[in-house]
């Protein structure tokens, strides 16, 4: 057992640190004095910075060299993330593309798709979004209804609605899961597509949340035309392709847990300033309970990393780290609001946004309930709940669901 860098990792870290030292004055300033205010300027600056990070070898570290990556392991990726955090500069803008969608295209895409899309994605020239969830398909993702019909010429026409789409408002492309054959059971008959976000018939609408801000979007598809080359991973193989994306999502969450910014010291800082709260046994007990769990997540990440280095694929248990982070942060926000009082909920407070954001985050990337089902079944080996949708053509499911209620 060893948490120290190997000599190669020491070199890699030193290189990353030196590069950041030389280039960090080019990084966009997102908070504090001199921070960029205009949303468009922020996005432009962050895209440019992502390009620099990619050129410096600090983004797409695990991507193969032929697609602009470094061809290194997850540990080197983590080292780069740690050094970026240490330098106090923003990371890449398109973590969803580079962390999840790019690797999916690398795994399932055609040579043409790889050479066309991966480079601009990695450099932030083209930002991507993930068009999976729908109003009636979240936890039960295979229930997507967005319909893709193939024409005589082999091209496709897509109609439907997607939701909870991060970055759709400035994305160039989306990776979209659609139903191509409703007469198959629901996990079959799905296909993955690449959708240009500026295609006629694509409408993006911001989705305001509890905080009042709109970080997510609804995406409407009204008879959107795609050519044959838009299919990723083959017609009818959409579910397998989606599972690849979800696996990379787990890795991203598992390794980058603290990257969400829900960091123990930050929470302690919220309380340390209050001389009375700092000494109050009940406040201390709660704070100690919360931060102990959050601290565990860092070392769970190192365990995930150890598994990855040994060639093992992290299982769904990595999702438990997300449950710990979100619930820990919710409790921390609650405690801090108890200490600071209503001021903690003021628009200007650093905590108000977090407190508003967390209830929704509980369901992001799979609701807590569905995560616990999956982990109970795949990790603990508990029997699944009986299902009503097994082996039934998707087109007949609706009437079945009606009959069951």
């Amino acid at each position: 057992m060893d948490l120290d860098d190997t000599p190669e990792q020491v070199t890699h870290r030193a290189q990353a640190r030196a590069w950041l030292e030389q280039n960090k004055d080019q990084a966009p300033v997102l908070s504090g004095p001199g921070a960029l205010q205009d949303e468009d300027e922020i996005i432009a600056a962050r895209r440019a910075w992502q390009g620099r990070l990619a050129e410096g070898g600090l983004a797409g570290v695990t991507w193969p060299k032929e697609y602009g990556g470094q061809g290194l392991g997850p540990i080197e990726q983590v080292i780069c993330s740690q050094e970026i955090a240490r330098a106090g500069v923003p990371g890449i803008l398109d973590a969803i593309g580079v962390g999840m969608l790019g690797p999916t295209i690398i795994a399932h895409g055609t040579d043409e798709q790889k050479s066309r899309y991966l480079g601009p994605m990695l450099h932030g020239d083209e930002v991507w979004c993930q068009l999976f969830s729908e109003p009636a398909a979240g936890s039960d993702l295979a229930a997507v209804q967005t319909r893709a019909r193939q024409g005589e010429d082999g091209g496709w026409r897509l109609t439907g609605q997607k939701v909870w789409t991060t970055n759709a408002q400035f994305a160039a492309y989306g990776l979209l899961l659609a139903r191509t054959d409703p007469d198959q059971p629901k996990h079959k008959g799905l296909t993955m597509f690449i959708v240009p976000m500026d295609a006629p018939g694509v409408t993006v609408r911001g989705l305001r949340q509890i905080s009042g801000e709109a970080e997510f979007n609804e995406v409407f598809l009204d008879d959107v035309e795609l050519d044959e080359g838009a299919v990723v991973g083959g017609v009818g193989n959409g579910w397998g392709t989606a599972l690849t994306t979800l696996m990379f999502e787990r890795v991203t969450i598992g390794l980058g847990g603290e990257g969400l910014g829900y960091n123990s010291v930050r929470f302690a800082r919220g309380i340390a300033a209050d001389e009375h709260a700092r000494r109050d046994p009940e406040v201390r007990k709660q704070l100690g309970d919360i931060v102990s769990e959050l601290l565990a997540v860092r070392f769970t990440g190192y365990r995930t990393l150890t598994a990855l280095q040994r060639g093992q694929i992290p299982g769904p248990e990595a999702g438990l780290a997300k449950v710990t982070i979100v619930n820990g942060a919710i409790k921390a926000g609650d405690l801090i609001a108890d200490v600071l009082g209503p001021d903690a909920l003021d628009q200007g407070s650093e905590w108000a946004y977090m407190i508003s954001f967390l209830p929704g985050l509980k369901s992001a990337g799979g609701t807590e309930e569905i995560l616990r089902n999956t982990i109970g079944e795949r990790v603990l080996g508990l029997p699944p709940e009986p299902r009503l949708d097994k082996g039934i053509p998707f087109s007949e499911l609706r009437s079945k669901e009606g009959a069951a209620t």
Binding site: D2, G288, S292, E293, F299, T306, R372, V379, L380, L382
Partner: protein, 380 residues
């Protein structure tokens, strides 16, 4: 970066599991609760054979020269089967003595297990309480440590005062902890058979857990030349060890609960297929995995980052103590009424959870220290 066990560590763990599987520890625990304390097997000879007493003593003094994580692996195996091996008392005591050149001659007997030591829980100051304190016999207020006047040239001193709920003190040859000597905290070793030493075994809710109140009245003690960091380190080591032991118990509780949830049927299907049951069991798993991760942190930090050891060990204790409480309660719930009966094993784990959570400063004391460490970092 590598958080996997080494081959030697895998072997140490497997050997411990094999050794302890040959003893009917759970049956003995139940019989001992029924009043037959002779039912508890003496596992010290087993520990000696396995080399556990000398785990933390260097090879030059007859020990194995291993580190906290190795000791935690053994404690975890003890926790799995509620084996009553007096290592929770012995190992932190040897950690202090190993840093005290004055008593180096005594180490080989402790390493071989010919002599057994018990650690007198002595809590180092926190950010809000500048005193060294002992666990109180009752109540929330912590007790002052026993005191002594200026020692003679050989470090001999007379001590008066008490330590409550000392793990593994009954039958120990040497008692090792911290006392206030001439106004300053210092390590001390007291021979249990010396005049003025009273080791009074106390009734235990968990019969496998051997405890005593230790009272000193002008008792002869030797002041140790161990540095104060070592004295504080022993407290944190004890936190890490009890955390490891608790996590071992959580593993068994989860395994038994999952096995039962697969086999017991209601309304025509296994109860483990219901979300309510499944989610409770994944919650046990979540807490277990968090606890395990922090055991790695603590095991690494003692030598790898000594400044972080208090945070690492106490966060492990905080999570592990709560995890065992939740796991034991879930085990009872999943089993239904049968889980709350005397014949079942679940109550043995429940008893362990309730008592161990209150020893060595308590799980909540560990949480308090974690908060203190974090608040200090935040202020810096």
């Amino acid at each position: 970066m590598n958080l996997a066990l080494s081959d030697e560590q895998e072997f140490l763990r497997e050997a411990a599991r094999g050794t302890l599987s040959r003893v009917k520890t759970l049956e003995a625990a139940r019989e001992a609760l029924d009043g037959d304390s002779s039912a508890l097997p003496d596992l010290w000879p087993t520990a000696r054979e396995a080399g556990w007493p000398g785990l933390l003593i260097d090879e030059a003094h007859g020990g194995a020269g291993l580190d906290a994580f190795d000791a935690m692996l053994v404690l975890g195996e003890c926790g799995r089967v509620l084996a009553s091996v007096p290592l929770l008392g012995h190992l932190p005591a040897t950690a202090i003595l190993a840093d005290a050149p004055r008593v180096a001659d005594y180490l080989p007997a402790l390493a071989s297990g010919e002599r057994r030591a018990a650690y007198l829980p002595s809590q180092p100051p926190t950010d809000v309480d500048q005193r060294w304190t002992a666990d109180p016999a009752s109540g929330l207020e912590r007790s002052p440590l026993p005191t002594g006047a200026r020692p003679d040239a050989n470090g001999e001193v007379k001590l008066s005062g008490s330590y409550a709920f000392v793990p593994d003190a009954p039958g120990a040859d040497a008692l090792v902890g911290v006392a206030v000597i001439d106004g300053e905290p210092a390590g001390v070793v007291i021979m249990a058979d010396a005049d003025g030493v009273q080791v009074e075994p106390v009734r235990r809710y968990d019969a496998t857990c051997s405890l005593a109140h230790v009272t000193l009245k002008d008792a002869a003690a030797t002041v140790l030349d161990a540095p104060v960091e070592s004295l504080a380190g022993a407290w944190h080591l004890a936190q890490a060890l009890i955390a490891a032991q608790s996590i071992g118990s959580v593993e068994t509780a989860l395994e038994m609960s999952v096995a039962y949830a697969k086999e017991r049927h209601t309304f025509g299907r296994p109860i483990g297929s219901y979300q309510a049951v499944k989610h409770s069991l994944t919650e046990v798993l979540r807490q277990l995995e968090n606890g395990k991760s922090l055991l790695y942190y603590a095991g690494w930090a003692r030598n790898g980052a000594p400044g972080e050891f208090p945070l690492a060990a106490n966060s492990a204790r905080s999570v592990a103590g709560r995890a065992l409480d939740y796991a034991a309660r879930t085990m009872i719930s999943v089993h239904g009424g049968i889980g709350a009966t005397w014949e079942h094993d679940a109550p043995l784990y429940f008893r362990r959870a309730q008592l161990s959570r209150r020893l060595l400063g308590g799980t909540s004391g560990a949480s308090d220290r974690v908060a203190g460490e974090l608040l200090a970092q935040a202020a810096a």
